[in-house]
């Protein structure tokens, strides 16, 4: 897409260390999770339901406060803005876009009553004073996603599931992010268009973006993954490049997801 394609950087762009977080006092959902994401790579977090995969993305984006741990973005600590909060200091979610982080939650985060075009314009909120730049960004998005250009006056809530995902990705690209945190991109979407969405994610990585993808669709996710984390009850049970796991997804599923908990490895 617009940014020059970069070779996978040697040092990861996102480094998260020993994250501990949870919703209720005294109950940790994440129990010391460390993950990384590098430009040009799709990194995939797999694991059974309820292991904290979505919680991990929420904690990374700031929707959930950390109890412990550290997050570094592009070599910088995602530092304090709200010192009164408990736990390690960190950025608020609305500040993450400026830091180069885009978040695509499981339920599309569009504004359903606003038009496709207004959704895109709001994606460029940080450039709101610069009309020319916003117009260029909208034009770029319409060029990249013709299906959205056709429907630019339509309310976002009237789009199909696949179109909504495209709009969400188009909207997040308005801020030129480096890292995409993507949660279940094809949940509830007709199977016919899931391939298109995975291709789109793959092409983002090819453009030099760092992708951290949480998915239940293990087979399709592994097809585009460069690196895999397997989570289990709030910890990373196992990790490695796809080559290390071998191309045999069924064996991987059997071995890592449904094996007993004592198969922990570094």
């Amino acid at each position: 897409m617009a940014t020059a394609s970069a070779a996978p950087a040697p040092s990861p762009w996102l480094v998260a260390r020993d994250l501990v977080a949870g919703y209720l006092p005294g109950i940790d959902i994440l129990r010391g999770v460390s993950v990384e994401a590098a430009r040009g790579q799709v990194r995939c977090v797999l694991g059974p339901n309820g292991t904290g995969k979505s919680t991990l993305l929420k904690a990374l984006f700031g929707f959930l406060d950390l109890r412990q741990g550290e997050i570094r973005l592009g070599g910088e600590a995602a530092s304090a803005t709200s010192p009164h909060k408990l736990g390690p200091p960190r950025l608020e979610p609305h500040e993450m876009g400026r830091q180069g982080v885009a978040y695509l939650p499981q339920r599309p985060s569009l504004f359903p009553h606003l038009s496709v075009e207004v959704n895109l314009r709001l994606g460029a909120w940080r450039y709101r004073g610069d009309r020319k730049r916003v117009e260029e960004l909208v034009a770029r998005a319409c060029e990249q996603f013709p299906v959205l250009a056709e429907r630019r006056r339509q309310a976002a809530g009237t789009l199909s599931g696949g179109q909504q995902r495209q709009l969400e990705i188009a909207r997040s690209l308005m801020q030129d992010p480096v890292l995409f945190l993507i949660d279940e991109p094809t949940a509830g979407i007709e199977p016919r268009v899931t391939g298109m969405i995975y291709d789109l994610i793959k092409s983002l990585a090819a453009d030099g973006k760092a992708i951290l993808l949480v998915d239940q669709n293990i087979k399709r996710a592994l097809e585009i993954a460069d690196y895999v984390y397997v989570m289990r009850t709030g910890t990373v049970l196992s990790q490695g490049s796809r080559a290390e796991f071998g191309g045999d997804t069924e064996a991987l599923v059997a071995r890592w997801l449904y094996a007993s908990g004592d198969t922990r490895q570094e």
Binding site: F63, H94, P108, P112, H113, R128, A155, G157
Partner: protein, 301 residues
């Protein structure tokens, strides 16, 4: 009863309806962003009227200019009140937010009303007319102040609609009302819009107070009925629908005035006007529990 009388009531109903709408859109705006019903809204309307009165009588500003001064003052006051009283609503740790909002805004309403009695005195005050005189059209007689109030009210509502639909700040306000989480994802600081919504809503109420003052005069308890009306209108219009609350405001204004016109015993009609407004509300809710113009719920996925 003559047809002229009916026409006069229709015209009065339109003017009152526009004033109702000005008050109610503020309540709607605040509800859609802060998720609380502001029961002190009528009292901000009262303060807006008094503020304009003193700007006219003490500073010698012309009435229309005084209205704008009053809007600015009440805008600032509302933001201070919001910062002081409503910030606990935005803390996830606060339980029972609805109850908190209810009690705090009710408390604020009583506080403002009683301070008004102390500061402004209990006796009605009347500022000078915007434009003295009346307009006649056949048997139809209507004061210039009413025409002026209706006209300025329409312009202000138009300005609000333009702001909401045509500016990026208005669209962001709408976005925050639809999903605070999604707003944060695109980088909008939703907290800032709590103040913006409360301030704009209060400024519109202040304008309504300034416009109505030369027609009905000012009294510290003038906000009590508009509080109830605004609540009725917001429900009629469908909670959170700005367009709906404008239409519902007009509808309530007309319904009340026509009821007064057609009520068989003219000596008692005025006393029942408010009861009739509530009757309209109940009938509408029986048939349309979501209100007349509630936003059709668009779901994601």
């Amino acid at each position: 009863m003559t047809w002229d009388y009916v026409f006069i009531q229709v015209a009065n109903g339109a003017v009152i309806g526009i004033i109702y709408a000005l008050i109610a859109v503020g309540v709607t705006l605040i509800f859609s962003i802060l998720k609380i019903v502001n029961f002190a809204h009528g009292d901000l309307y009262m303060l807006g009227g008094y503020c304009a009165y003193y700007v006219i009588t003490l500073l010698g500003v012309p009435p229309l200019g005084a209205m704008f001064v009053s809007m600015a003052v009440i805008f600032a006051l509302a933001i201070i009140l919001e910062r002081l009283l409503l910030t606990p609503l935005y803390d996830d740790a606060t339980e029972r937010k609805d109850e908190y909002g209810l009690i705090v805004t009710f408390g604020l309403a009583f506080f403002l009303r009683n301070v008004a009695v102390m500061v402004f005195g209990p006796f009605p005050l009347k500022p000078p007319s915007f434009i003295p005189g009346v307009q006649r059209l056949g048997g139809l007689v209507i004061t210039n102040d009413r025409l002026f109030a209706g006209g300025v009210g329409i312009v202000l509502i138009g300005a609000l609609l333009w702001f909401m639909h045509r500016t990026i700040w208005g669209q962001a306000l709408d976005a925050v009302s639809q999903s605070r989480e999604s707003a944060a994802i695109v980088g909008i600081n939703a907290r800032r819009f709590n103040s913006v919504a409360f301030g704009i809503g209060a400024a519109l109420a202040a304008a309504a107070g300034a416009l109505i003052a030369p027609i009905f005069s000012l009294a510290p308890d003038m906000g009590v009925l508009p509080n109830i009306h605004a609540f009725v209108i917001v429900i009629l219009g469908g909670m959170g629908s700005v367009g709906g609350s404008i239409l519902a405001g007009l509808l309530l204004g007309e319904a009340e005035n026509l009821f007064t016109a057609f009520f068989p015993d003219p000596t008692r009609a005025l006393a029942y006007t408010n009861a009739f407004g509530l009757l309209v509300l109940m009938v509408v809710l029986v048939f349309r529990p979501q209100g007349l113009f509630g936003r059709r719920h668009l779901r994601m996925e």
